[in-house]
């Protein structure tokens, strides 16, 4: 529970921070109590940690994905956790004075606490997937923190750049972790750290390592993935001090140290990690000197130091690793204090530009002294912590040199970087505090900051001194414990200040004097750099982003040309391709069954159908005219159905054809008579040709092959259990009555949809209302006479449907047409007044009847739509069969009647309610 408690504290604090009230000092106290409490909790474990014990806690999250919420506390995580909490504490105090009254302290603190928790999660997790979760959380929280001053362009751009870069690294890391987990057969660190051999022998080792390094290097700003860090300096300085020097950028290095036992020890590791580290060390140091923004200088110096640590971890020797861990601590201390000092300077003068700053020593000597000590530590001046770890680095550089290869040049690089770091440290101090009189400052005169704003800097600078002079009494146990957890066994080493006159000391001296000389001769260097200044990474990044957006837009526009035809063509081509593929696979098109004989009537009918289809296509541009051949095609198909034993189909086809043509006539009245000609491309011919041929061939292939179907069952059971002679009708209302229920629902919904769509559309006043003729007497009379007949036919069709061709659907259509005729004949008004019927309501009632019939069978304990029927002897009429299926069919009838009328009337502009 302890680790979980420590981990959750910042999150809880962030959640509670909404209730901390408006008093800023109270908010500082309450917020600062979070890391204080966490440190207190952690320190209870120090004895355990110092003797090398590892404690675990595990909570269930998603074992199926090996995502267990397991935590560990060993020397390494202990050291890092303390660093995160302690620097966090100081930053919280510092930020209180740094932020102006109009900046929201509440927002900053909440985000800082969230970040603190995420960072603790990285170092405390024992499961690498959980580590990744927190890793990404630090990316998100850092995005928010960098963008704290969201109204500033540089803050927005810097935040975005940092997020995209580090999140991309996080994605690579995810893939790398998955490979690592599979190679180690566990995602738990304790198991992974023990299975170094199987990890290194994994076939995916180099890919895995590359991905993990990509993640680590983006986070720790290694060259050439460092570019986001200088731009993240748009963040408030407390944030820079915390995230971008002390903690978050160390996450990548932490990861390298954490996984050191599992991943290191190969040539790939050595070359990649050392090589990149060396490049970064050198590049950062050189560019840092050229900066004129205080924070820019510190940012590049941070990059350089991160490179130094990476380099050390790449060497792989125990001493190098210890030096790396030590330098992590030292760098955090002196760099955080320098950032804070820079923040104070900015706070008091209103600028961070070293071309404007000078002579501040007279105005703020106290701050100047603090900055000087910290900068000296950065430069590696003896008696300060930075000196010791740098000396260890030089020692390692010398020792590793004989190994050849990359190692050969390490000492040279070390000295050059050392020279530059001395030079930029000098520049930081001399440019700001000396070099003449302070003038031309946005805020003048500058003076010392509030007492408590300096306190965090004082503490950190004091640490620089104490650690630098008495390393064994201060940092040693922490460092030792951390080293044990990385290395397993720690060789004898000493953290002493004095190792006698040796080569490393000589290197330090060379670096110090070289640095002074370099600083004195900086003029030509600066002007050289000005001439060769690389393009601003921000601009490059923005241009890349804009190009990306442009390229994406062009691609999408290329794919989707916003025409209706292209997607249709894609679907048709796909269908044609599938069919052709099938036909190629088929050994022969014709199957085993011989084709049946052709009669002359069928040939004539087929030819007529071809002609009618051809005419439809030829006339497609003339809307009304093309309806005639289309109708002929429909009627011929009805004949086809009739010819091949499907009277119900034939009847339905005729009825539907009639209504469809009617509907089209109505609708086309309001559309232009012709449409412009368009170019016909090869595609327009080729696709139909292939698709038509292939479909025909497949139809033929199936028809000439034998099959066993479930049809026999219907033939046998329709009468005995379905109670009807007309098998098709029994299927529709009984065997597959559910389909029919769906079908009438479609009709109803379509009529509702049409109603919704055409509602309020005044069709009457449309373009070319053809034929606004008055109602003709003949038509009126005819309609009046026809109505009862038509209704009678409808009833007849309905009643006989269960046994003979007919049924509710055809009956409904017939009745609908008859009623429609009344509207047409009387031109609206008359019929609308006489027939005060909501057709929509009728169709709803129809569906409801169908449902009710289905639900009725529940009463008898049968499933939905179970039919029952019986015979009754009635006087005069004789034997009468009544089936629930007929009730269902009544529902069909009413739905069809109502829905079809609603559609027809709405489309003809005779809209009802």
């Amino acid at each position: 529970m302890l680790l979980l408690g420590v981990l959750l504290l910042p999150f809880v604090g962030a959640a509670l921070s909404a209730f901390f009230g408006s008093d800023r000092d109270r908010r500082v106290l309450l917020t600062a109590s979070v890391p204080l409490l966490a440190i207190a909790l952690l320190m209870r474990e120090r004895i355990n940690v110092f003797v090398g014990n590892v404690s675990y806690e595990s909570y269930r999250w998603l074992p199926q994905a090996n995502l267990e919420f397991s935590l560990r506390l060993d020397g390494l995580s202990f050291l890092f956790a303390l660093l995160i909490l302690a620097i966090g504490l100081l930053v919280i105090v510092y930020a209180r004075y740094y932020l102006s009254e109009k900046d929201s302290l509440r927002k900053l603190y909440a985000q800082l606490l969230l970040f603190m928790g995420s960072m603790l999660g990285i170092v405390l997790s024992n499961n690498i997937l959980v580590m990744l979760v927190f890793w990404e959380l630090t990316s998100i929280t850092s995005f928010l923190l960098v963008g704290y001053w969201q109204h500033r362009t540089d803050a927005r751009h810097g935040a975005r750049m940092a997020l995209i870069t580090t999140a991309a690294g996080g994605l690579a890391l995810l893939a790398g972790f998955l490979l690592l987990g599979e190679a180690a057969q566990s995602y738990e660190l304790d198991a992974i750290l023990l299975s170094g051999d199987s990890v290194r022998n994994s076939p995916h080792y180099s890919l895995m390592l590359s991905l993990i390094l990509l993640g680590a290097f983006t986070k720790s700003a290694q060259f050439p993935l460092h570019f986001w860090l200088p731009n993240a300096m748009a963040a408030p300085t407390p944030v820079s001090a915390y995230l971008h020097s002390a903690t978050m950028v160390k996450a990548g290095i932490f990861l390298l140290a954490r996984l050191h036992p599992a991943l290191s020890g190969t040539d790939f590791w050595f070359n990649a990690v050392t090589g990149i580290g060396m490049l970064t060390l050198l590049y950062g140091a050189v560019v840092a000197l050229m900066q004129y923004d205080l924070k820019g200088l510190l940012a590049f110096s941070t990059i350089s130091h991160l490179g130094l640590i990476t380099l050390l971890l790449g060497l792989g020797t125990p001493f190098a690793t210890i030096a790396a861990l030590f330098h992590i601590v030292n760098h955090a201390i002196f760099k955080a204090s320098l950032f804070m000092a820079a923040g104070i300077i900015e706070h008091e003068t209103g600028t961070r530009d070293m071309r404007r700053l000078r002579g501040l020593w007279r105005h703020m000597p106290h701050t100047g002294a603090l900055a000087m000590v910290a900068a000296a530590s950065m430069a590696g001046v003896p008696l300060l912590n930075g000196f010791i770890s740098k000396e260890m680095f030089f020692t390692q550089a010398v020792e590793i040199q004989p190994y050849g290869g990359l190692a050969t040049i390490i000492p040279i690089v070390a000295i050059i970087a050392g020279v530059f770091s001395v030079a930029y440290s000098l520049r930081f101090i001399l440019n700001v505090f000396f070099h003449g009189e302070a003038e031309d400052l946005p805020k003048f005169p500058p003076h010392e900051p509030p007492r408590y704003m300096k306190l965090p800097v004082e503490i950190l600078v004091l640490l620089c001194l104490i650690v630098g002079i008495f390393p064994s009494y201060t940092v040693a146990p922490f460092l030792n414990a951390a080293s044990v957890s990385v290395l397993g066994e720690v060789p004898l080493y000493s953290l002493a200040l004095w190792h006698g006159f040796n080569l490393p000391l000589l290197m330090s001296i060379v670096a110090l004097f070289g640095g002074v000389l370099l600083y004195r001769g900086r003029g030509p260097l600066f002007s050289w750099y000005e001439r060769h200044r690389p393009a601003s990474s921000m601009r490059v990044f923005e241009i890349v982003m804009i190009d990306l957006f442009k390229a994406a837009r062009t691609t999408i526009a290329l794919i989707d040309n916003r025409s209706l035809t292209r997607p249709i063509a894609v679907v048709l081509i796909a269908a044609a391709a599938i069919q052709v593929f099938v036909l190629i696979q088929l050994p022969q098109i014709a199957g085993a069954i011989a084709v049946s004989d052709v009669d002359i009537l069928a040939v004539v009918g087929t030819l007529m159908l071809f002609v009618a289809t051809g005419i439809t296509i030829a006339w497609y541009r003339f809307r009304l005219r093309s309806l005639l051949p289309l109708g002929v095609v429909g009627l011929l198909i009805a004949l086809l159905f009739a010819r091949f034993s499907a009277p119900d189909l034939a009847l339905t086809q005729i009825a539907v054809e009639f209504v469809t043509i009617l509907l089209m006539l109505f609708a086309l009245r309001y559309l232009p008579a012709t449409i412009p000609a368009e170019k016909i491309r090869v595609r327009d011919i080729a696709i139909p040709l292939v698709l038509g041929t292939a479909t025909a061939a497949i139809a033929f292939a199936i028809m000439t092959r034998p099959y066993r179907s479930i049809a026999q069952y219907f033939n046998e059971h329709a009468l005995s259990e379905g109670g009807g002679h007309n098998i098709v009708n029994v299927i529709l209302v009984d065997f597959r009555g559910f389909d029919t229920l769906g079908e009438i629902s479609v009709l109803l919904i379509a009529s509702v949809g049409i109603g919704a769509m055409l509602h309020g559309l005044d069709l009457k006043s449309s373009t070319t209302p053809r034929a606004p003729q008055p109602p003709s007497l003949l038509l009126t009379t005819l309609a009046a006479v026809l109505l009862p007949f038509a209704l009678l036919i409808a009833v007849h069709l309905f009643v006989r449907g269960h046994n003979l061709p007919g049924g509710g659907f055809v009956a409904g259509l017939t009745a609908a047409v008859a009623v429609l005729l009344q509207y047409v004949a009387h031109d609206g008004e008359w019929a609308t007044q006489r027939l005060r019927i909501s057709w929509q309501r009728i169709s709803c009632i129809g569906v409801l009847i169908a449902i009710a019939t289905g639900v009725g069978s529940w009463v008898l304990g049968y499933p939905f739509l179970t039919s029952s029927f019986g015979h009754w002897q009635l006087p005069i009429v004789g034997d009468v069969e009544l089936a629930t299926a007929m009730l269902f069919d009544l529902g069909v009838f009413l739905t069809v009647l109502g829905a079809v009328l609603r559609m027809l009337l709405q489309s003809s502009g005779r809209s009802m309610h």
């Binding site: 209706l564 035809t565 063509a569 048709l572 084709v595 049946s596 004989d597 052709v598 069928a602 040939v603 087929t606 159908l609 071809f610 289809t613 296509i617 497609y620 809307r623 093309s626 289309l630 095609v633 198909i637 086809l640 010819r643 034993s645 499907a646 009277p647 189909l649 339905t652 539907v656 209504v659 469809t660 609708a667 086309l668 559309l671 232009p672 449409i675 696709i687 698709l691 038509g692 479909t695 025909a696 139809a699 028809m703 179907s709 049809a711 033939n715 329709a718 098998i727 065997f735 079908e743 009709l747 379509a750 949809g753 049409i754 769509m757 449309s766 659907f809 559609m903 709405q906 489309s907």
Partner: protein
Amino acid sequence: MEILISLIIGVLVAGGAFLLLRTNLVSVVLGLTLLSYAVNVFLFAMGRLQGNAAPILEAGNMSTTDPLPQALVLTAIVIGFAMTAFTLALALRAHRDENPAEREQ
């Protein structure tokens, strides 16, 4: 006969596809109609062809026709009708939206 039916299906599919590739919505509606004719005949033909054997049970007479495709086609015809009606209405809407000036008349 099977060849004739296959040809009918093929011609209807080809004709439908041709009209579907036109840019005007009303042509597309015509194309859809032809395509649905084709599909209905196709579906119907899957029950194989039988002359003079309507699936209606007379006394002592077992049907030899496969009635299921007929029922399916019936359902398909009705649904197709609903879809055609909707598409036509949509064409009306689209036309009115494209020519808002005419509404003023």
